[in-house]
């Protein structure tokens, strides 16, 4: 029997999606279908061997050490008490601004994102500090929970970022360059989020009652101390990557070591906190790398089926502007983001989407920023937005619907930032371009 590889490839892609929506674990469904596909297109022996050796290669690939290291860096930062200091610093500076506490939440999330690579961790850590404070001043729960859930997404764009690491792994782009490319768009997005908070408070003043207690300049200057520590670590770690002193893996290791020392010296590191940092790190690393292993088996099968090449040829044969295709890809990501978590979404789509992006002559680093932006959107879109659930877990007594309504304006900000980046790609590319020289 002659099998048409393209046909098998299409069948395989469809079955992965069916299996995932039937509740099969995403990593194992990709590995399973990848294996069956290799069996059909090659033979049984190479298929089983390829599956098992992919597992080993992913588990022992040195650059992936960056994942456990970034995760532990973030959770050590959380247990060193950094979030509280950051929040009170930002509060002192933004108190006069309408919606000041929400703006401070965004600011503190952005600053915490500079030492944490995970969006969920950022939302959880900042939520426990910022939500009670906003509740005390009788903020509309929509604004308070929305700003925390959205602010948390900054963890993915502002380096260190697990999102860029996974994108870099799957597309074989420089992880260092990707991380650096997130800095300016991250600041832009934080600015857009903050503007939404201000606008919200101006349009609906009852949503954000003002705190009229004045802050002296002396207090403001002392408050800067809370920003010093994360700023130093960020400049050291990300600056080290930028100047080429360290690789991202080394930066993660050094950042984690510094934070371990800081947390121990400040006597903030308890045994339970250390234990949960470690378990968190291994659990997230295993989850991510299992997805990558599944994706690698699946993309070996995809490559054999020639689907990525065919899809790229097919898409480029359309007589439309490449921006129309980009808009469609973004739309697909917004829809997928409603049902899938950020990492799974990348792992599932990039084997086919990335060759299309290259064929359309988009910059791969720039698209990494857009892809990470879309992962962020996926974190706050119902029904399966991870940050929504995280905030619902922290904000006792607030309904999920309220949080969903609260994040909607911030979703708009993500789309606006994606458009700005498409018009001015240099916002993402200017820093990584200077790196190589």
């Amino acid at each position: 029997m002659i099998v048409d590889p393209v046909m098998i490839g299409i069948l395989g892609s469809v079955s992965v999606f069916i299996l995932i929506f039937l509740g099969m674990h995403i990593a194992f469904s990709m590995m399973f279908v990848g294996f069956v596909g290799l069996y059909i297109l090659c033979a049984f022996e190479p298929a089983v061997a390829a599956t098992a050796s992919t597992m080993w290669e992913v588990a022992s690939f040195y650059p992936y050490t960056v994942i456990p290291l970034f995760v532990i860096m973030g959770s050590l930062a959380g247990s060193s008490g950094m979030t509280r200091d950051l929040y009170s610093s930002f509060d002192k500076w933004t108190r006069k601004v309408p919606g000041g506490l929400a703006v401070a939440t965004i600011g503190a999330c952005g600053a915490f994102a500079a030492v944490s690579g995970s969006s969920v961790a950022t939302a959880a850590a900042m939520g426990t500090v910022a939500l009670p404070e906003m509740e005390r001043f009788k903020y509309d729960p929509k604004l308070s929970t929305g700003s925390v859930a959205a602010g948390g997404t900054l963890g993915f764009l502002i380096p260190p970022s697990i999102g860029f690491v996974v994108y870099g792994m799957l597309t074989e782009q420089s992880i260092g360059k990707l991380l650096i490319s997130g800095v300016l768009p991250g600041l832009l997005l934080a600015g857009a989020y903050a503007s939404i908070c201000v606008l919200w408070a101006v349009l609906y003043p009852q949503a954000a009652p003002r705190d009229l207690e004045p802050v002296t300049w002396k207090e403001k200057l002392t408050a800067l101390n809370g920003v010093k520590e994360p700023l130093f670590i960020f400049l050291f770690v990300i600056g080290g990557i930028y100047t080429g002193f360290f690789t991202p893996d080394e930066a993660g290791a050094i950042g984690a070591t510094i934070l371990l020392v800081v947390a121990t010296v400040k006597r903030k590191l308890t045994w339970p906190a250390l234990f949960s940092s470690l378990t968190g790190s291994i659990r997230i690393s295993v989850m991510v790398l299992m997805l990558v292993a599944g994706a690698n088996v699946f993309s070996t099968f995809m490559a054999l089926s020639t689907i990525p090449v065919q899809a790229a040829n097919w898409v480029t044969s359309f007589d439309v502007s490449r921006y129309v295709i980009l808009a469609m890809i973004i739309l697909i990501y917004v829809i997928l983001g409603c049902f899938l978590d950020a990492i799974s979404m990348m792992v599932l789509t990039l084997p086919v989407v990335f060759p299309i992006i290259l064929a359309l002559h988009f910059d791969p680093i720039w698209f990494g920023v857009v892809a990470v932006l879309m992962m962020e959107a996926g974190l706050i879109t119902p029904p399966m937005g991870l940050n929504l659930f995280t905030v619902a877990g922290v904000a006792k007594g607030v309904r999920l619907e309220t949080i969903i309504k609260g994040t909607a304006p911030f979703l708009g900000a993500i789309i606006v930032v994606a458009i700005i980046l498409t018009v001015f790609p240099n916002i993402a590319l200017v820093l990584p371009k200077m790196m190589g020289k």
């Binding site: 099969m24 599956t51 597992m55 002193f245 080394e250 291994i282 049902f339």
Partner: protein, 159 residues
Amino acid sequence: MYTSAKNVIQTITRVLGYVGMVFIFPMMLLTSADATFRDLFSRTIPGAFELSSLMLSILVLLGLAYAQQMRDHVRVTFLVERLPQKLGTIVTIITTLMSMSIVAILCWQGVVLALENTQVSDMLRIPQWPFRMLVAVGAFFLLLEFFFDLVDSVRRLAE
């Protein structure tokens, strides 16, 4: 009998995870030291690179089953939850069996590929096969975790 066996095995799975996660520390310190020495004194620690990747393999492979026990491997459940309960359980049983089949392949081939392997690391000449064997160890306990889930589903169906 089944319950106590399950408890023992799940405890072993957790302990394997705890053993794996401790390796984050040496990985962190070794990598930091290596980078610092290189940048400040232009000297590297011999084998830091390969030791880190071997430690990563211990961490990931020993954590495989632990992550499943903690329900960390991502899945989309909102559709299955909306199916009639009986149908949903049957679907879950089928998908669990499919996951088990691929994990069984990992376990079996993990042993085969480890025993065939004669590679040693570049600098320190550490043989690779014992670490490759961890693919089989991790997959074996992962298989058992899936088996417990399967038994739970079958029991739900029988009720």
